[in-house]
């Protein structure tokens, strides 16, 4: 049986041989080894259920071999498939060893045929799906959805993608910086507020805000930024409560504060 098929391969019509060569050039066009096998299987011109897996394995191995000769780099999964098909071929050709466990060559071949048939079937239904009438192309939604404005409700929207991206953003930030360190360079608004409450009693004169930064937070830029931000936020809060006054003479100029005169 196998010999007959090999013989048949030798007398392939020229057109088929050209097609086989075209495959080589086109190796980038395949979506993985299974796709390549499916394409090769078409040259057998039979129903996928009647395909000769042995013949197919040989076609594939020849393809990989030709690619080697032409020095075409094949991706690893193509080579993995080649190794597996070589194994399958030996299983199919050699008489079964009764001492050996595991599936028979026929079982493995049947599974490969199943995989090819399934991939082919999924391609066909995918094409049928895309050939269906589609919204926005063949049929259309109301062009002028009506909104009679009487009740207005604000709804906050967020998609799952937003949520996952937010989480990814946070976790990526954390991956290279242990929490302990983060904690060290964050001066919270609560801390700043507590500190400022104790200090404003002494702030009778306009004083630059930077003078209120806690000790040890002025050096490292990250720590200084955090302390500045929280101290500034705390002064805003205190200003809101009417305890202090803020002043900034110009855009981006230094900010000064003082206790609100009684």
């Amino acid at each position: 049986m196998a010999e007959a098929e090999e013989f048949r391969e030798d007398v392939l019509p020229v057109a088929d041989r050209l097609a086989a060569e075209a495959l080589i050039v086109d190796v980038d066009g395949f979506e993985g080894p299974l796709d390549l096998l499916l394409t090769l299987s078409r040259t057998q011109k039979v129903d996928l259920r009647r395909i000769s897996v042995l013949n197919l394995a040989e076609q594939y191995l020849k393809f990989v071999n030709d690619a080697k000769i032409l020095r075409i780099e094949l991706a690893a999964d193509y080579l993995v498939m080649a190794a597996w098909l070589a194994f399958l071929k030996s299983r199919l050709l050699l008489p079964p060893d009764p001492a050996e466990d595991g599936p028979s060559g026929e079982e493995l071949a049947a599974h490969l045929a199943f995989q090819l048939e399934r991939l082919q079937a999924m391609r066909e239904v995918a094409a049928r799906l895309m050939a269906r009438d589609q919204k926005g192309r063949d049929f259309f939604v109301r062009g002028l959805p009506e909104d009679v404005t009487r009740l207005r409700r604000v709804s906050y929207s967020a998609t799952l993608l937003d949520l996952m991206q937010a989480y990814a953003r946070i976790r990526t930030r954390d991956e290279f910086r242990p929490y302990a360190l983060d904690r060290d360079s964050v001066f919270t608004m609560e801390q700043a507020l507590e500190r400022m409450r104790g200090l404003i009693g002494f702030a009778g004169e306009w004083t630059d805000l930077s003078a209120y930064l806690p000790q040890g937070w002025g050096g490292d830029p990250a720590r200084r930024r955090s302390a500045t931000a929280s101290t500034f936020a705390a002064t805003l809060e205190l200003a809101k409560q009417g305890q202090i006054e803020l002043r900034q003479d110009d855009v981006f100029a230094a900010i000064s504060i003082r206790r609100k005169p009684a």
């Binding site: 079982e107 999924m122 269906r132 926005g136 192309r137 993608l161």
Partner: protein, 214 residues
Amino acid sequence: MSDSDSLEESLFAAPPLAEQERMIEAILFASAEPVTVAELTARLPHGSDPAEALVQLRRRYEGRGVQVVKVGDAWAIRTAADLGFLMQKETVETRKLSRAAIETLAIIAYHQPCTRAEIEEIRGVAVSRGTVDQLLELEWIRFGRRRMTPGRPVTFVVTQGFLDHFGLESARDLPGLKELRAAGLLDNRPMPGTDAVGDDEGEEQIGQSELFED
């Protein structure tokens, strides 16, 4: 039934069926998105029966320029597909899907719930970054229940938006689904010699029955 009963009923009587039909017609016309029966019930006067009125409304629009269509458990009005040629003005240019994305979508639709590993097993190639992302972004697929197998992988299922886009009443109406099932091509058949995980088979059955439930 006593007189007082019927009096009470008339106080809270639902509008006549024809009137309910008008109301549903107005609501469906006003919305670009499918409206669920539950939402219709909430918006119609107390005691209305949208399901019944929908049957009539749907019949009324048979053969007309617009159609009353079912999308999962929701309803919408859409233009008749044979008139698409008139609508060049309304056509929205959709981003062309790659072959990988189309196949991935089909695999999820026919095998749902479906893990990434299963998609890769069927296509025989890794699912590239962004393919799943693109389908999620189109809101054609969403995350389903996690599979109760080692690693508890996430699964994907298709959405109402998918059904709406392809004019399907439910996932059961996917073209060729019955034939594929009959041919055993939707079975989860493990490679001979590898241990099938018992749990997985159970899940698979849930998956398939899910496809066929209402």
